[in-house]
């Protein structure tokens, strides 16, 4: 197979990878508490004069007030995913947790043992091989790539990718330090908490499933967003050069998206829904407009935006949005979906898959 820029897998992949992976079920877990952007900005230590809602289009986000942490959000999403699924926890052969935050028992960050092992234990996935992936906001899609590879090759037939992001505490820390719109911690104010889980399985013969998954790391820009445990505050702090990331992302994404579409034999106009990483409504709309202009076409629908009411939920954002679309009946069987990852690193990835009857029916929207 000729190599492009992306590290890519196409399905079916010939003798070496004869199977296709499909999205069998998706679950999510959202904290009950809503924190509006007005409330968050009213809590800043300094008079910032920032109209964050106008800048980002984010009206509110869900936040844990301590009742949820990374593990409980991940395990809650995994349970929600299994509740809809044909599979039981015992069927899961590989379980990968992909969150940036690994908080348990409040704001204690667990390095070892892994979050994936704790999720497996909580949901009863006692047969699963477990490990964690860390790839910033591209974590879950990286997990889909890795687990999908095993399914394609026939090594396993069922795997789960999960993430729980208790990440709103970065916003609380940022509120103490942000002074103006140029602050490196401004992006921390866009974050919201969520858990998400996706169950992948071997698709029946002839099913479309995940046709292409491709990723790359443009590491020349790897230091544009850095997050560390805070020195004197609980939790973490994140420092982002948002405008530079957005500029490079818009410059780099079109060629990579086109490469993925070419591999699938599609054009952008064949795509029903593009679900990009949810950073800000304004950035998504501007980015899609620029990308469509460069590629010379538009998908059948505007890019999916959920950041306005959930905030940026980091690695979970694509699947939080996908559940939203399925529950709202916005995806019909046969719909082609492009999940586009954009994350610190800079990580850029594209997963193309076709929604089928079975997935739609799980959300009460049978064809």
């Amino acid at each position: 197979m000729p190599r492009g820029w992306l590290m890519m897998e196409q399905s079916p992949g010939g003798e070496r990878a004869p199977h296709v992976a499909r999205v069998e079920s998706i679950g999510r877990k959202l904290p009950e508490t809503r924190l509006t952007t007005d409330e968050l900005m009213a809590s800043t230590r300094h008079r910032t004069h920032i109209d964050l809602e106008r800048l980002t289009g984010i009206h509110e986000r869900r936040v844990s007030k301590g009742e949820e942490d990374s593990l409980s959000l991940a395990a809650g999403a995994a349970s929600d995913c299994l509740r809809r699924s044909r599979h039981s926890a015992a069927d899961i052969e590989v379980l990968v947790s992909c969150s940036i935050t690994k908080y348990r028992d409040g704001l204690t960050q667990w390095f070892e043992p892994t979050t994936s092992l704790a999720v497996a234990e909580r949901i009863g996935a006692s047969n699963a091989i477990t490990f964690d992936i860390s790839n910033a906001c591209a974590g879950m899609l990286t997990g889909v790539f890795v687990v999908g590879d095993r399914i394609r090759r026939g090594e396993i037939s069922c795997g789960m990718v999960v993430s729980g992001e208790y990440i709103s505490q970065l916003g609380r820390n940022a509120a103490k330090h942000v002074r103006n719109v140029l602050s490196a911690e401004l992006a921390s104010l866009t974050l919201g908490d969520a858990g998400a889980a996706v169950l992948l399985e071997r698709a029946p013969e002839g099913a479309a499933g995940i046709s292409v998954a491709g990723f790359t790391t443009v590491s020349e820009h790897s230091r544009l967003c850095l997050a560390y445990p805070a020195r004197h505050d609980q939790g973490a702090r994140m420092f982002t050069k948002s405008r530079a990331i957005q500029r490079f992302a818009i410059a780099d994404t079109p060629i990579l998206l086109q490469e993925a579409l070419d591999a699938a034999g599609l054009s952008l106009t064949d795509i029903d829904k593009v679900i990009p990483h949810q950073t800000s409504a304004r950035a998504i709309r501007k980015g899609m407009k620029d990308i469509c202009g460069i590629l010379g076409g538009e998908p059948k629908n505007p890019a999916v935006v959920t950041v306005d009411h959930y905030g940026n939920t980091a690695s979970t954002s694509h699947f939080v949005a996908l559940v939203e679309e399925l529950e709202a009946g916005n995806l019909e069987p046969g719909a082609r979906v492009a999940l586009v990852a954009l994350a610190s690193g800079i990580e850029i990835g594209v997963v193309l898959f076709t929604v089928d009857d079975e997935l739609v029916s799980l959300y009460g929207n049978a064809a």
Binding site: R16, P113, T130, N135, A136, D149, R153, A227, A236, A251
Partner: protein, 295 residues
């Protein structure tokens, strides 16, 4: 077509006051690429499995920083060009085996030709980790698709086991105490012997999968967690001392330990004429990973 492990490389820091896990990982990566006889631009996938690094960076993946430092196709994508992908895997001392399995998968499917697996830890500095127990070591290995060239063993299979009932024997957490976020690593004295029992059981299952007897193994390369771990493993697995790889002073190496042991075996020339090699590691969880390499 098996995945071939090229010669691993180790980078250590014994004398520097403030060692950087990232810089050690950079150095080990460059050495491993050199030993594999390829260019850094030949690497398609980089997986970092080190856990404790500079300031306990949470984002981006440390692998992205290493990719940039080493110069593995860091540039913006260009038409007709070829990029690289990198991310981190965390699975304690078994992370290297998880990464080898992921690399083996992508090599088997034909998605990549070369993967670089790197691991390394060091005190994160900034007084964030009082009594940090692990030495500053990193190690890396290139995995390639076996093109039939003789000389090195390749991956035949993996076996895993987790024993969450022993999950509290090794804990590593960053918590807020005395107005600071501090990394605390707590290991129960029982960890080594408990881990060895699970490791021997899992390795036995792997050997049975491949119809291989313990006596037929040329070499057992195990994570040198402690003398007790290696002795219990060797006894329960039923292999002789001559089949085991021993590395002096490696007990304090953490995520890179398995590769350090593999590099030691390679350095002693013990990988050159072998037909069956067993890799064994165990980490917090308890999670045990095993791999059989054959030629």
């Amino acid at each position: 077509m098996a995945t071939r492990l090229e010669a691993p490389a180790v980078a250590s820091s014994r004398w520097v006051l403030r060692p950087s896990a990232r810089k050690l990982a950079d150095k080990a990566s460059r050495m491993a690429v050199d030993r594999a006889g390829i260019e850094v631009s030949d690497i398609d996938l980089l997986v970092n499995t080190g856990l404790y690094h500079d300031r306990n960076l949470g984002e981006p993946a440390m692998a992205a920083l290493i990719q940039q430092d080493v110069g593995i196709r860091p540039e913006d994508p260009q038409a007709g060009g070829h990029g690289a992908f990198s991310f981190d895997i965390a699975n304690g001392s078994c992370g290297v085996l998880s990464a080898l399995q992921v690399a083996d998968g992508f090599l088997s499917s034909g998605a990549i030709d070369h993967a670089l697996v790197v691991a390394g830890d060091a005190d994160p500095g900034h007084r964030m980790a009082p009594h940090f127990p692990y030495s500053a070591d990193a190690a890396a290995v290139v995995c390639s698709r076996d093109d039939g060239r003789a000389g090195r063993v390749g991956v035949a299979g993996f076996r895993w086991h987790s024993a969450p009932e022993d999950g509290d024997l090794l804990l590593a957490r960053v918590g807020f105490e005395r107005r600071r976020n501090l990394l605390r690593i707590e290991e129960d004295p029982e960890f080594g012997s408990r881990a060895a029992r699970w490791a021997a059981k899992t390795a036995g299952s792997l050997l049975a999968d491949h119809d291989v007897k313990a006596a037929d193994l040329d070499l057992v390369v195990a994570n040198p967690i402690s003398d007790e771990f290696l002795e219990t493993l060797s006894e329960q697995l039923g292999v002789g001392e001559e089949q085991m790889v021993r590395v002096e002073g490696a007990q304090t190496v953490h995520t890179a330990a398995l590769l350090v042991a593999l590099a030691a075996a390679d350095g002693q020339g013990r990988l050159s004429e072998v037909r069956r090699v067993l890799l064994v590691s165990a980490g917090a969880g308890i999670v045990v990973g095993t791999a059989l390499l054959t030629r």
